[in-house]
Subunit: 331 residues, 2 copies
């Protein structure tokens, strides 16, 4: 049906081996031959068949980026989007393609779709079931964990300094003179949740402030929940003058709630977010937040994965991405 290397070989008079070489290692073929071959190929609309190549090379030059279903919809997620984007760029550089899926997609009735598809490697973003990782290990497929802290040391991982990020956020609020500081903590994975909470508490303690449990809430990391919870907080007579929200989406919801109730940000209520996602600049006033270098996260995760695929031994198994305070207008 489609034209193959044999058609081209016949047409140009060279053997199929030479035609193959003209594509995979052009310099090992005489210029004359190359020209003839490319001409014939063009005429026949020939394009090398990646499947056949993958078959013999035992490499697809495809990797998978798997986002935990909780983060659904995967692609819309303002935190993971830029990470994915960076990983894509890195992949493109290497002539690799990226499959994107949620961990839910993987559990198809008839089994391990992504294993069947013979990925050369996999990036897991967010939480993953240990069993999923093992599936890949069993097939000797390299895995990199992104924003996920496995118990085992064996996996490569790229993580964030959640604790310190939370610290500088709350520290900043203290610097601004706030003494009553609330927390809107998104229910991320236990590890992330806990690290950000501890960062918050440690700063309060350092400043001799007490965390009032009435002003510490855990919630879904959504706009709606941020708004809902903040609205409730606002009703309390002795409410805090500032809130640390553990991501920008929650913070945006919180800002909405404050503005709607007729109060001002930051004059009446100051707010700090986390992630420095796109959202932080969409809203007015713009959000003070904790920047995470998501670009670097995506890039590093991809680079580590490619290093493993290439059989290099990766020295630095665990990278922790630093965080940085970005002061805008909500504090």
């Amino acid at each position: 049906m489609a034209t193959t290397i044999i058609d081209v070989a016949k047409k140009c008079g060279y053997s199929k081996a030479t035609v193959a070489r003209a594509y995979s290692s052009p310099q090992s073929v005489s210029e004359r031959a190359r020209e003839k071959i490319y001409a014939a190929a063009k005429e026949l609309h020939y394009a090398p068949n990646a499947i056949a190549r993958a078959m013999v090379r035992q490499r697809t030059e495809n990797i998978a980026f798997i986002i935990h279903e909780k983060q659904y919809p995967a692609i819309l997620n303002p935190f993971y989007s830029p990470i994915l984007e960076a990983a894509m760029q890195e992949a493109t550089k290497r002539n690799y393609s990226i499959f994107i899926t949620t961990s839910q997609d993987m559990r198809l009735p008839n089994g391990e779709m992504y294993i069947e598809k013979n990925m050369d490697g996999v990036i897991f973003a967010g939480e993953v079931a240990g069993s999923s990782i093992q599936e890949f290990q069993k097939q000797n497929i390299p895995v990199v964990l992104l924003n996920n802290c496995p118990d085992a040391e064996e996996f490569l991982s790229v993580t964030i300094d959640h604790f310190h990020g939370a610290e500088i956020a709350v520290e900043h609020l203290c610097d601004r003179g706030h003494r009553r500081i609330g927390l809107l903590a998104g229910r991320f994975s236990p590890h992330v949740f806990e690290a950000r909470l501890q960062g918050y508490l440690s700063v309060l303690e350092r400043h001799g402030l007490s965390g009032d449990s009435r002003f510490i809430a855990d919630l879904d990391p959504t706009l709606e929940d941020g708004e809902r919870v903040m609205t409730a907080m606002l009703d309390q007579p002795d409410r805090p003058t500032a809130f640390f929200c553990t991501n920008d989406t929650i913070a945006a919801g919180a800002v909405k709630a404050v503005l709607r109730s007729g109060l001002r940000v930051p004059e009446d209520i100051a707010i700090v977010g986390f992630d420095d996602s796109y959202i932080s600049q969409v809203i007015e006033p713009e959000l003070t937040t904790i920047r995470v270098d998501t670009q670097a996260m995506g890039r590093l995760a991809a680079q580590k994965l490619f290093d493993m695929i290439d059989g290099k031994d990766v020295t630095e198994k665990h990278v922790e991405i630093p965080t940085e305070l970005i002061i805008r207008s909500t504090t």
Copy 2:
């Protein structure tokens, strides 16, 4: 290296043909055989090799979703994200995987990566060079165009009723009593740009209003440009009382500009967006906008593509997605 069908065959005592059948058509194998085979497979961590399968079936069960580079960063784009998400879901249902790329990625130095990778089909989102489409046609790879109006009738396409969407947006502003209505028109593809502009103009004309060219601007469809242009508009003494922005991102920028200048939305300046993207609910006040059923767009594009891949003849070649006014708080 990896375990193959032969290893399993040896272990369970059946031939490799039977093992293959146990996976591709389980009902044609005795239950007894199936059990033995699956047990052996499990023990050996066997997973069918998709490459080998694709090789003989001449199908990869992969499709590509290609976004025009102008929309970069592809995945972050609040308009295309939900479309992609819907297409992904549809693909997952069919056991297909989706590759995501920008049209820029395709132009690799050494050529047509996505053709080499043997996609079963391709969805082009946004503008595409006609030549890119032809490349795929030559390889007999089905193509669906999304939000793109090709001159040729031959391609399947899923588009939006831009004209009518613009009409109902501006009509709504007229209903609210506005007589001076400005336009912030994003530089999308010429077709989209023109259709939304004409929709705007037609309503003005119908109401006996004149479009003042000073208040009709074309700009990059970004937050920054929306803010910048609106700020300039606000300086004019006889400025409009309402603006139609041709997407939500521009509208969000415009809202920021208005609020920053100390004016109120919608009391001083009313604003309507377009797309009903995520952004419209992030900002306060929430954005009145034109909803496009992006869910349907993604789903239909994928379905049409699969119909072509399956060799069905697609009756309805061109689908136009309707638009709907969503009234929130900026008007």
